[in-house]
Point group: none
Chain length 194, copies 4
DNA sequence: CATGAATGAGACTTCATTCAT
DNA sequence: TATGAATGAAGTCTCATTCAT
């Protein structure tokens, strides 16, 4: 594995553990097993490292959302949404400290906001993907046509997002089973079995 | 207005504007119109100021939630929930940078997490209040007894929370009307008119 | 003496001894007997300290040049010019490392060039003052009207300037007497006794 | 052109453009179109490169001064001195940033001063050459025997040197014609036509 | 001889906190 | 209580030089 990857992985670990504010270049270098100077052979500066790591977040969820478009008409809608919700819970929970950190440095956000929005990289992208899936299911007739797909997507992902936030806030850990149960409760409420 | 309040308000302004990372004691003092030394006559340290400001967030929403318990059986459920959602959107949007900042300083969170949970001060408290309201409405028979009150609460507040997050992330501003429309779409989806 | 003055004097000493490149804030602080942080309570940055010291150079010569305008028609022209030359030799010799240092940091020069020229602070100012004096002596009839006053001024100060440069370059020290003799040779050549 | 020459030329360009302080090995390598490592295959270190470039300065002037010794009794003295002055103005103007840079690194100067003086490499050498020429002209009877040749040399070169310094300081550019006029004014003042 | 990633020493600067006035 | 200069620890980043390829 090349040093750049090693640095990125080390930085991710440190950032998620210590938060952006308490993540020092010294600590990243120590975790990557290289000198501080080496960081700057591969990244322009600390902000660059942070952004690199940030862009790598939510990979799992994004993968699920990509595959979601191919699941229109397959399995059950509930099952598909549960899969999304579980991934969202996992990724949001793991990434929350990193994603939130950007608000502690609004100038970084400002500098890259335009790019995020243009390249459609922000967390908002997930909601659009779920809404798109639901609209296709409406077309295919598996769910009623009069529901507000975007709102349903926002309810699923929003509740997962806030739940993940609160887990991080209170320091509680959830097992995979708990996550799955939460996902099912959400989906069941929005699409109750007859 | 005494100096302590002036400092707190100045700190809130600076924190929301500059983010925690770029909020310095010098800047707070300047905004409060006093010397840096004075900060320490009213607060133990910078962390103390931050926590003081943090505890003052979501005041508006919390007020609405308190009054909510008295609205059981009054107005319509939808109307009551819309009021909650609008307040949540407002407060979450305004407070997001501050609330999220805590994840950039996990040691502060760690030191105060227990207290937050014990005194029931965290943002999670809101969801409980809405769930409690909904359960009372179930008892009163205005809404079906078989819905999962906590999940509905999570959907309402979660979608608002994430929506507020994304507004802050993308830098978009919403008018009161847009906020109201979003709130109504959420509530309408969860409690559709017949 | 207040700390700002102490820092400035310490910085001047260090800058003249070590040159700009090897003058560190740590060294300035040590010489001033304060912490590095204190430097920044009185100066914006290292460049600011350098400029502050730079502006204080050639004080002696500038004083002589000011008084020179009052010497029109007094003493002898030769004597007056010798005084100028001796002061120039002294100040140029002492300040040469500092004055030249600015060419090792052209961006600093660029940033402040306009200001220097506008406020007439640069070393070029001395030549104008000597030329002005000579023209007044021409008007008073003590020296011939057909000589090029500016050129004579440039010869006097230029030769002193280059001489000072070369002393610094070769590391030779000159006694006051040697300086005086050099000054006299210059003036005698330009204004030979009958 | 071999790489050593390419590096030296690149270094000269960078040093004159950016100043010694902001001249990095990375930049020299970039300008030379080679790797940083290659610098060390041709020079011992950065200081070595700097000295190599420094020794190459004033080439033009030095050539004129060499030919000057052969001009005794030829052309007019004024004309010969004008040629010297023009070359001096050109070379001093171009080399000033580089030559002055040495005072920002006194330890380099200290380490090599002895060698400079012994090998007669410094800028002071020019003055001696002009003085030698003038003395020969005194012997040949073309100029009066009682003038101080060394002082005249110092006036010619000193005024050019300081003029070049001030041009660099104020950022003014001079045309060849302006340079020639300045040279003529200097020479005319020192050797007025009858 | 050419390369360029890795190094590590050290530079400048920031900032929360203290304390004498 | 109010001040604000002084502190010193710590952080980010630069850069000449080395060395394995």
């Amino acid at each position: 594995m090349d040093l750049k990857t090693k640095i990125a992985e080390a930085a991710e670990l440190v950032l998620l553990t210590n938060g952006l504010a308490k993540t020092t270049t010294k600590e990243i270098a120590r975790a990557a097993g290289c000198s501080e100077g080496s960081l700057y052979n591969h990244f322009r500066n600390k902000e660059d490292i942070f952004l690199h790591v940030l862009r790598g977040q939510l990979k799992n969820l994004m993968g699920v959302l990509t595959s979601l478009q191919g699941l229109v008409g397959k399995e059950t809608v509930q099952h598909n949404l549960e899969k999304v919700a579980v991934s969202a819970l996992e990724d949001y929970t793991n990434s929350m400290p990193l994603i939130c950190s950007i608000f502690s440095e609004p100038d970084i956000l400002l500098r890259h906001r335009e790019g995020f929005v243009q390249r459609n990289e922000g967390p908002h992208r997930a909601n659009e993907a779920v809404a798109a899936y639901l609209m296709k299911e409406q077309e295919s007739g598996r769910i009623m046509g009069d529901i507000d797909a975007r709102v349903v997507a926002d309810c699923v992902l929003g509740s997962c997002f806030q739940h993940a936030f609160q887990l991080n806030f209170t320091g509680k850990q959830e097992s995979h089973e708990e996550r799955f149960n939460y996902a099912r409760r959400i989906v069941n409420t929005l699409f109750p079995d007859k």
